[in-house]
Symmetry: C3
Subunit: 189 residues, 3 copies
Amino acid sequence: VADFRVGILGVSDTRSRGEREDETTGIIVQALERAGGFQVAETALVADERDAVEAELVRLCDDVGCALVLTTGGTGLAPRDVTPEATRAVAPIDVPGLPEAVRVQTAPSFPKAWLSRAVAGLRGPSLIVNLPGSPGGVRDALEVLLPLLPHALAVRAGGGEHGHAGHQAPVSGVPTLRPEPGAAGGEDA
Amino acid sequence: VADFRVGILGVSDTRSRGEREDETTGIIVQALERAGGFQVAETALVADERDAVEAELVRLCDDVGCALVLTTGGTGLAPRDVTPEATRAVAPIDVPGLPEAVRVQTAPSFPKAWLSRAVAGLRGPSLIVNLPGSPGGVRDALEVLLPLLPHALAVRAGGGEHGHAGHQAPVSGVPTLRPEPGAAGGEDA
Amino acid sequence: VADFRVGILGVSDTRSRGEREDETTGIIVQALERAGGFQVAETALVADERDAVEAELVRLCDDVGCALVLTTGGTGLAPRDVTPEATRAVAPIDVPGLPEAVRVQTAPSFPKAWLSRAVAGLRGPSLIVNLPGSPGGVRDALEVLLPLLPHALAVRAGGGEHGHAGHQAPVSGVPTLRPEPGAAGGEDA
């Protein structure tokens, strides 16, 4: 069984300059390992600069060929928080229910979750999902998202009714994504 | 009491080619009949092609004069799923709470509901709402939406504070929509 | 402790013409007073005209220097309801969780809350949040929002990791906003 390739992008001025330890990447790596079915292809850190975030997202999707890119940080209301805008710019097909699920399901125990401006979007065969910047926020968000991601990625890669290879627009230079075999189709959602 | 005119548009490659039976239209017709106050003006099936979906939505709103158009299918993450983008293109005034309500209220029993990219939007006097493509998903979504739709349509047609005829921009060539008399106004929401 | 400057904008044809009493502004003023930490800098009423709503929002943010602008009304499905579109046009940085929180948390007791098209957005250092047009709707929405707003405004004004003054793009002619000292940072959300 081939695993989904995952890229992890930490978005933070202080973490990218090494002024603060990046705990979130390690938390995600461990959670994906425990869940199974994922292979972390690359991790990166970048400052809260929209152009830089967009460039890294494009690279992780198009060059590294990640089926899933998880970002951490930059989703709040601070003046430097630009991760949602960068994500939307490179992945314009909105998947609103994923950040909605995180807000709705984590807010009962952490009301500030309502302030997250996180988005999720599709870029060709790749799904990008914004996570919070704090270790606790990442853990909470993954608990909500991990049960949903394998099906989401399998459908995106071509499982289900719409999944015949001929239907998928070829994206030149993109490595083949490897879905879980047997994953179900797109008519459920 | 005149009823709201409803159009039902199934969006699916296999259903539009007759390769798979379309169960969802019948489910909607029966649910609207049971609820009362609706008149199904037309049903149609179309492939998962954005241009074709947009053209059918425009036709059902502007030519057939539907106050409500319900779509089924094409709202997932599969490469061919384009219903939300087609809907947004022809009905740009967002009504985010309707798909939000469906996701939030159906996810407890069907977590994959979070993966629905369904949207709802206004096109002049018409409301378009995306439903899932599976029979069970349609049933669940209607259970959430049906109690909300009569009030929504009455307000859109001109009930309430903002509803004086003089306020509503005339749309040439659009048949008159028939709201439920006595429905309440727009200041509640 | 300096307070956050707040502008309150009632959006309503009948209230702006004096044909109906505006109860919502008084409700907001009292709720902010009880909560503490806010200073109402200005209140205004405007008709349901998109240009006029946009102009008032810009004035309250840029000229009056409000850290927070709360609107009431114009968020439903009536043909004259344009508050969300006006807000989005002048405050394009989306804060989706705030209206989501109001819908999700008030709908159990008032299902029509799902029909609210309210949005929240950032315009430079200012946060604009749409509230319903009815007195009861305003009360319900404030109950959800008031616990979240002080942290949101403090982060926006420069609290937390991203909050160093040098990071914030200067907006010429905007009076300095006064956050609550000691408010926490942007990495939580």
